[in-house]
């Protein structure tokens, strides 16, 4: 028995270390199961399938501090590892903007590209009296306590900020009176909304696809510039006179110390993934909308997002 145990623990270590010699590594800064894990596994699989890398990409889960642990580990220990990519999303930018990574700043890594985005949505149960964003905003103006929102992120997180942005744009300024509860993920938030415990759910398109198809929830608005292909009957917030665009982009960052050539190379590889049929299928199956920005373009775009998130967070008092 002990022999078996020893052999197994050894093989577990070997599995963990396999491919560490020259293959690329993708760090998912969370436990298996979330969006970052999806990014790493999906992009890693396609990179290999379309021949952009010679060996399968090894995915490492490094959960902790909402991504902060992975961030500090990359900055402090692997600052020039050119074979390392790290999954990131809007949540990474939000947390950096809110100084949630223990003093770490966005300029300590390089954001190399995003190849898809999960459009922000606001949904209600199918039998809700609210038919549009206007109805929702009117109800909140009349009684801020009458509409409670459920979302998959903690208070101050992106799901929370999204709904506050919408309300501000709709002319409701007392945003601290808005009821929001953070649940364990978007699906949980939908269950609570269908169950009638919360009146609306704020989240990402990917989280609601199945429930939309089964007719249990209705989307009031999608927070993109144009309607999302495949979901053409959901109006954008802009169409309803609310000028808010909020998408949860899915992308990667790399260590700061790598050469410009390697940075551009990763950008090109990502662009190739974005153009592949396999990625398009994966996006469609998961409710992602096309959103490709790579290299320097993406870096400056992220800088802009962080600056505006910081401003909003300060305004609502999440940071001083």
């Amino acid at each position: 028995m002990t022999k078996t145990l020893r052999a197994l623990s050894l093989s577990a270590v070997l599995i963990g270390a396999a491919g560490a010699v020259s293959a690329a590594e993708c760090i998912a800064p969370a436990n298996p199961g979330g969006g970052w894990d999806f990014t790493c596994r999906q992009i890693g699989k396609i990179l290999y399938d379309i021949g952009q890398v010679d060996e399968p990409v090894q995915v490492t889960n490094m959960a902790g501090g909402g991504g902060g642990l992975a961030f500090s580990s990359v900055v402090n220990e692997r600052g020039d590892d050119a074979d390392l990519i790290v999954a990131a999303s809007q949540a990474t930018a939000t947390r950096l903007a809110q100084n949630a990574y223990g003093g770490a700043t966005a300029d300590q890594v390089r954001f190399v590209g995003a190849i898809g985005a999960d459009p922000g949505v606001i949904v209600v149960a199918a039998d809700s009296p609210m038919q549009s964003l206007g109805d929702m905003i009117d109800a909140i103006k009349a009684d801020p306590g009458s509409v409670a929102f459920g979302g998959g992120s903690a208070v101050g997180g992106f799901d929370h900020l999204k709904v506050l942005q919408v309300l501000k744009a709709g002319g409701f300024d007392d945003i601290t009176a808005v009821k929001y509860i953070g649940l364990d993920g978007g699906a949980d938030a939908i269950t609570q909304t269908v169950g009638g415990f919360t009146q609306a759910m704020t989240g990402d398109m990917s989280e609601i696809v199945g429930f939309l198809k089964s007719g249990e929830v209705r989307a009031l608005a999608v927070l993109t510039e144009a309607r999302v292909p495949g979901f053409d009957d959901i109006p954008t917030a802009q169409e309803q006179g609310i000028d808010v665009v909020a998408v949860n982009w899915r992308g990667l960052y790399v260590p700061k110390g790598i050469s410009d050539e390697r940075f551009e190379e990763w950008g090109a590889k990502l662009a190739a993934v974005a153009a592949s049929d396999e990625w398009k299928a994966a996006m469609e199956a998961n409710g992602l909308a096309p959103f490709t920005k790579v290299g320097g373009d993406f870096q400056s775009w992220v800088d802009g997002v962080i600056a505006s998130t910081e401003e909003l967070s300060r305004e609502i008092g999440v940071i001083q």
């Binding site: 028995m1 002990t2 078996t4 145990l5 020893r6 197994l8 623990s9 577990a12 270590v13 599995i15 963990g16 436990n31 298996p32 199961g33 999806f38 596994r41 999906q42 699989k45 399968p56 995915v59 490492t60 889960n61 959960a63 902790g64 501090g65 909402g66 902060g68 642990l69 500090s72 949630a100 990574y101 223990g102 306590g145 409670a148 903690a154 208070v155 101050g156 997180g157 009821k179 509860i181 953070g182 649940l183 364990d184 993920g185 699906a187 949980d188 269950t191 269908v194 169950g195 009638g196 415990f197 989280e207 696809v209 199945g210 429930f211 198809k213 089964s214 994966a282 199956a285 998961n286």
Partner: protein, 500 residues
């Protein structure tokens, strides 16, 4: 019958290849479950990249993963019974009667009974899943913050009588657990609590670190203290037979525990640990003091094992029908499905019947394979006890370190684990039970979140907590569960005196 034709579709995807995958998965799962620190969720997570690198298709990957999942649920009991160290968190309750049984020289009996109980629990849950999954998904819509809070309260209200004769010490232990659960990012405000600015503590304390520390590492300290003589590991070993009489006697226990576990599994967030806990506590209160739960009785190992395996099957209900993972392992399985471009949710049963029914068929097969594998293998497992403690314990210790390091790859967790070991040593010296600490860590966060969400929704109105028939029912059960043992003990002691 539609079910049978659906199942036929499911079985049609099975080939000799997938069948052998199921056998391999069950074997790996059993080992992974038995190793302290390596639970079902990291077991499945470790194997995900393997399925990709050998290019398994969706069905085969699912067969392998669910076999590992069910296998680990079976395997967790082995180290609970033989070493008093839970192999994974749902097997925690099995230590309470399993280890005393082993000390009485009935390790083989305990392993066989718990193996059969695991089979009954998993089989009933799989059948329940097949017949009722889409219907049961609705149950999740009935549980809001108030109902969840009352459910967790029910669990804590019955904690007093657990694993200790001193209710105050059990209460102290659960408070320590609840305190540890407070560490980390506060979900309601997004602010870090008790982290001392340490990023490693931002996500809180992983319960696996606590379990391995409090049980495995503390055991090693005891061993060192006694210079290898007085270690509690020294259990007796007798001939292994199939204890038919005990299995038959535990029949009703297994059925009831399966039902309790299955229901706990269906509720997202409750999961297998709560399932085995509630199953054990309800059986304990049904049996009363006459049942002698906690002293090494067959029903005491049958209940938690039937309960946690049923909960493992139950947890697949919200995962498949709502996309809400009910436990750590189902969260990993969910990730696997998404990577295979299968999105669980309300439409999965109609969109991808091949996947759903292939999964059901593989669950059934895994379960039979596991029974066939586990009962004869008991003879091999009990050999562990023939290994001298001086060899066994350092081995267990080493595996614990590897297992915990594989969780996050951080040395910090290892230090924390040793810290928990010291704490476990001190607490056991003071006769404070450690099981309630783990339950506090496991359930404390969920309970607090439920309460605070309820308070946000109701503007701080406490009556919200009693606002639905379900929550009122759970409150009554919780109060009864807390008060009843105090009175029942006196009432039940009389007839016992007569029969004695």
């Amino acid at each position: 019958m539609e079910i049978f034709s659906n199942l036929a579709v499911g079985f049609s995807v099975l080939t000799w290849f997938t069948l052998s995958l199921a056998v391999i998965g069950c074997f790996l799962g059993t080992i992974i479950g038995a190793l302290p620190g390596l639970g079902p969720s990291n077991g499945v997570a470790i194997l995900i990249p393997v399925t990709f690198s050998i290019g398994l298709d969706a069905t085969s990957a699912l067969v392998l993963m669910t076999s590992v999942y069910y296998g680990a649920m079976y395997g967790g009991r082995i180290s609970s019974i033989l070493l008093n160290i839970p192999g994974d968190e749902p097997a925690l309750m099995t230590t309470l009667d399993g280890y005393p049984m082993a000390k009485q020289g009935r390790a083989g009996d305990a392993l066989v009974i718990s193996g059969v109980a695991s089979f009954v629990g998993a089989l009933l849950a799989t059948i329940g899943l097949m017949l009722l999954a889409p219907l049961l998904a609705r149950v999740a819509y009935l549980f809001g913050p108030a109902e969840y809070f009352a459910l967790y309260l029910l669990a804590f209200s019955t904690l007093g009588g657990i694993a200790s004769n001193n209710q105050a010490k059990a209460a102290l232990a659960s408070c320590i657990g609840l305190g540890i659960a407070m560490i980390g990012l506060d979900n309601t405000t997004g602010m870090p609590r008790l982290t001392f600015g340490n990023l490693h503590l931002m996500d809180g304390v992983d319960f696996l670190v606590a379990i391995v520390g409090l049980f495995a590492v503390a055991e090693v300290f005891f061993f060192i203290e006694s210079h290898g003589k007085g270690s509690s590991i020294g259990v007796k070993l007798e001939k292994v037979t199939v204890p038919v009489k005990d299995i038959v006697k535990s029949g009703w226990t297994m059925l009831r525990a399966s039902l309790v576990g299955f229901i706990a599994g269906i509720l997202p967030g409750a999961g297998a640990s709560l399932g085995s806990f509630l199953a054990y506590m309800s059986e304990k209160s049904i049996a009363g003091p006459k049942g002698k739960f906690g002293t090494g009785v067959p029903r005491g190992v049958a209940a938690p094992e039937a309960g946690n395996n049923a909960a493992a099957g139950g947890a697949l209900v919200p995962m498949l029908t709502l996309g809400v993972p009910g436990s750590g392992t189902t969260a990993v399985l969910l990730a696997l499905l998404m990577t295979l471009n299968i999105t669980p949710g309300p439409t999965l049963f109609t969109d991808r019947p091949d996947v759903v029914w292939g999964l059901m068929a593989s669950l059934l097969i895994a379960n039979f394979v596991l029974l066939a594998m586990n009962v004869p293998m008991v003879k091999i497992f009990v050999r562990v006890l023939q290994v001298p403690p001086a060899v066994l314990l350092p081995g267990v210790c080493m595996i614990s370190f590897v297992g915990i390091f594989s969780l996050s790859g951080s040395y910090f967790d290892l230090l924390l684990m040793v810290g928990f070991g010291v704490m476990g040593y001190v607490l056991r010296k003071l006769d404070v039970p450690t099981v309630p600490i783990i339950l506090g860590i496991l359930l404390g966060n969920h309970m607090e979140d439920a309460l605070r969400r309820g308070m946000v929704l109701s503007d701080g109105d406490w009556t919200y907590l009693f606002s639905s028939p379900i929550s009122v029912g759970l409150w009554i059960a919780a109060v009864a569960g807390f008060v009843a043992p105090m009175f029942l003990r006196k009432v039940l002691q009389k007839p016992q005196a007569i029969t004695d």
